[in-house]
Symmetry: D2
Subunit: 338 residues, 4 copies
Amino acid sequence: MIIVMKSHAPQAQAAHIMEELKSKGLEPVPLYGVERTVIAVIGEERDLNIGHLEAMPGVDKVMRVVQQYKLVSRESHPEPTIIDVKGLRIGDPKVLAMMAGPCAVESEEQMQSVAKDLSKMGVRILRGGAYKPRTGPYSFQGLGKDGLKILREAADEYKMGVITEIVDIRDLDDLVKYTDIIQIGARNMQNFELLKEVGNTKTPVFLKRGLSASIDEFLLAAEYILSNGNPNVMLCERGIRTFEKDTRNTLPLATVPIVKLRSHLPIIVDPSHATGKKELIEPMTKAAIAAGADGIMIEVHPNPEEAKSDAQQQFTPSEFKELLDNIKPIMEAVNKHL
Amino acid sequence: MIIVMKSHAPQAQAAHIMEELKSKGLEPVPLYGVERTVIAVIGEERDLNIGHLEAMPGVDKVMRVVQQYKLVSRESHPEPTIIDVKGLRIGDPKVLAMMAGPCAVESEEQMQSVAKDLSKMGVRILRGGAYKPRTGPYSFQGLGKDGLKILREAADEYKMGVITEIVDIRDLDDLVKYTDIIQIGARNMQNFELLKEVGNTKTPVFLKRGLSASIDEFLLAAEYILSNGNPNVMLCERGIRTFEKDTRNTLPLATVPIVKLRSHLPIIVDPSHATGKKELIEPMTKAAIAAGADGIMIEVHPNPEEAKSDAQQQFTPSEFKELLDNIKPIMEAVNKHL
Amino acid sequence: MIIVMKSHAPQAQAAHIMEELKSKGLEPVPLYGVERTVIAVIGEERDLNIGHLEAMPGVDKVMRVVQQYKLVSRESHPEPTIIDVKGLRIGDPKVLAMMAGPCAVESEEQMQSVAKDLSKMGVRILRGGAYKPRTGPYSFQGLGKDGLKILREAADEYKMGVITEIVDIRDLDDLVKYTDIIQIGARNMQNFELLKEVGNTKTPVFLKRGLSASIDEFLLAAEYILSNGNPNVMLCERGIRTFEKDTRNTLPLATVPIVKLRSHLPIIVDPSHATGKKELIEPMTKAAIAAGADGIMIEVHPNPEEAKSDAQQQFTPSEFKELLDNIKPIMEAVNKHL
Amino acid sequence: MIIVMKSHAPQAQAAHIMEELKSKGLEPVPLYGVERTVIAVIGEERDLNIGHLEAMPGVDKVMRVVQQYKLVSRESHPEPTIIDVKGLRIGDPKVLAMMAGPCAVESEEQMQSVAKDLSKMGVRILRGGAYKPRTGPYSFQGLGKDGLKILREAADEYKMGVITEIVDIRDLDDLVKYTDIIQIGARNMQNFELLKEVGNTKTPVFLKRGLSASIDEFLLAAEYILSNGNPNVMLCERGIRTFEKDTRNTLPLATVPIVKLRSHLPIIVDPSHATGKKELIEPMTKAAIAAGADGIMIEVHPNPEEAKSDAQQQFTPSEFKELLDNIKPIMEAVNKHL
């Protein structure tokens, strides 16, 4: 940790801070520069309270040297984490985990139909929202537990794994019972109580990046889950909020290599929510695969026009089949298979 | 609602959409322009699914004419909402609701001390976090229910109201029991299950704007609470996340007059979290009052250097006293009192 | 154009606006809705002044139906524009235009060395800054006209084309004389006088997106050049400024397919400036190619450690050779060659 | 300057960097921490090339301790700069410099009329654009030199000072001749050649913050002007571009106290461009004054409905008179006069 004193801060203030640091078992090294004094701190800085130091008289700013997360870091775990879901090895460098299905579970017929089509195309993880977080209270909020059962049955029928979103901590037991992967949506990325509770299970977790979360905040959210005992976390970039209005969100694909450099956890990309526009999904899927993504999540609905949410970004099964054909050369170029 | 067709979209596609709209009891009016066809829709557009329409063949984009919220709108309720908390009329144009106290409840001594000082200065609402949402799992997470009791006792001793944050839906009964105002933090602004549950109580709710929420999303989050039956909602602008790095967040004070134009709910400003820097809090407090804010929330700690969180933005009681003196002329200029 | 009146705006205000529109040869169609009146306008809306209409009494907001640009639009020119630079067909779907070279021209030796290496690898466009726009006045500002000559000679020696940036309108004649492509940097994207002047030449222009420009503003900047008579414009996405701090800028690759949908102009990606970090350049180059980019601009320096600017993002020639080898499978997957 | 090495970087890499630093006359101090080595650098860091250091093998990141600007810093010049324009002392703590007038100079009548009204109200600086930077090439581009003359004559008639924008470096002589303050617009904040040239004059400069410029980039742009010899620079906050769509830009008023802390230059606020909406201008003007702004720039047009640009944000003279009356109590509260 580096503590930069204000210019003209009296020596006594730096001395006071150094006392404080020593009392915590750290070694402060003062550097008397031309314009300012800087105190470098040797020792375990993760336990230090930055705000506390910044509040001390004479301090201008405090800069961390190491990250706050440990368990999710590549340094602590050099090999990639591979999560096995019904035989699909998510995180394996040779695998592209394709997760597809409708935005929301709407009926048994819908899910059976889409599961049948997707499984035939080689998709092994079925998605579908049973509980839907909606911006306004007057929008469709999902079928709830009935939706979970419909999703599970459709997946079982076609030997697929299931991913669905949790929106209420009180539903956790049901989620653990009916699904193979629990999704935590962007709006809940910093719902820390929820993170702790899913950390107490062993069910794989699919954690979406918050709309305005930094990558370090994203990794720290994952750290909440790992530090509670659940190592099976995969991350998902789904776009951030910027000044751009041409896409629903802005998809920053550099997240993929950055996460790979800093962490051992798999990183998936969701081009449907990131762009919000059908015509951009194929090029962004190709780009995500080329950038090194471990998986892709795409919305597919038997009849998008009738969808109860996010209709404009859902593919029909035949459009999705075309996408799978079109991304094949890119998958081969990076040596990945479904 | 306005539906803009793609240029060169065949007439049959527009016809198909108009059929659809009519079947829902709406009146579509086609406008055949130079380059494109536009369909204007007359009727109750709030019930229409924009995504559904955007997914229909030939549609380029769909634009709403009216807002999705109803109960929070100024149109539905022209008079300002005034929420009475222990005799303080929050939302009354003549009142500046000052809420102050430490970031986190740390001990009985701390809370008694600060409550005593603040009540003497005329502050009538005591804040303090019993449950702390922290970015990383290794930071202080609050005293929990013990913190709630300490806070309540300190407030009762000095006849103050209490505001504290809820972070877990399962704590709601305790919050209702021990506090006068339930705070929903920025990270939970779109925790819709939590919004619904506090909507089922009658306890006043203090809803903070999410870091990257639009003002309409902010008002829609409040709509969740009102539509479940709780009309006692006050809003809080606490800064948004932008490219700026000089302040913790960017404080967009135009939120104050915009909320006043669109809604009848009180709007409070939190300059402590918005700036994250002590030296900016006084000028931003003055600016917020001048812009028309109904209240201010400021962090005050008996000994900021010892604070367990956000130390750098907390005032000492004597610094806070100075702030109260310095903002007095602005309060008089806008004809408000504590 | 769609004009939405305020709720409760008196009929006379809508009538006044309709008179105004008719007097300009347009056809207003009033739509009396449940809550508001909307006026749809049929006719050439590009000539209308939105601000003027928004200032009229009773108007709530005005929404455009068509874009303001004409010449750059795909509608006006369905075939892709192909710009021939020394035999390289930039914009041809089978071509990946690779532009490489150092951030700044520093010496004859440097440029001869890098040109020799790059031309051997198949690179046909040499970049190098003679005039450098630098954030601070105390940084290296470039060799100026001497740099231009050095760049030209090195390129001629190895039969390459030359691209370099213009920063002062008064240098235009020199730029036209010495270079094959004139680069307009992100900071000058809305230097409209400069856009007009390069529009008066026939030299191909490489227009970089401004740090916070919308895609429509970007296309309108290109429209300035085309409308002055120069059709040879290529666009360059080089990252936007967002809240993210992990990369110098955020690279929104959806720009590539969006520009392809809206315009016929070639679109190039600059991963060096977009990320600012060497280790992210290769994955982002692959992603850009997979997304459909017509070209890539990358910084290569014989000795990055000695570079006078942007050292941390420049490749050595041998690192660049490795990148070329690694992107080959992706280029083949999308059927493009250098 | 602080150089953080990668974890596990070999000692030889740190040694190589320290050699390099010593060869430049600086004193490196190595700190061997638990996880990483950090090199603190004592000496004049402004001359160091950060990119150069970041490109050296083994370096993870480099952090500056001091700012890059000197002349604009409060440290180099503790007293506030006061710029005298026709007797108005801009920057004097007791003065609120009010600059008003239409967005664009449109005719002699318009300017005479508005100058007459404004001067009667006590406004001493007349604004008006003769050269207009417009997003699209088909919009009104200003009257040019004729506009300058009209503006000058109107101001002289009513003994006012004149401020107008420069958009082309080749017009500088005319600007110096006809105006009292040269405005550099947001889009030209980093047009460094223009900054240097106005730095060669003695005419006061009004520098607007770029839409996505950091405050340090803003101050560095001013440093370009001061370092070329012109000390008469005032800064203007006019809003930044964020994800918000409810206002044209987001007005971050914390800029006012931050600039005051870091620099001695006057800081003005432009609420017209920052919000783009008439109904927000008065509250934001009050807030800006309360935050400590040295001046306000507001658009006033004799007949906004007829304005050729930005009509929706221009006040009529009588609306402006009302604003002046309404801000009076706030001006008195902060002890400022026109």
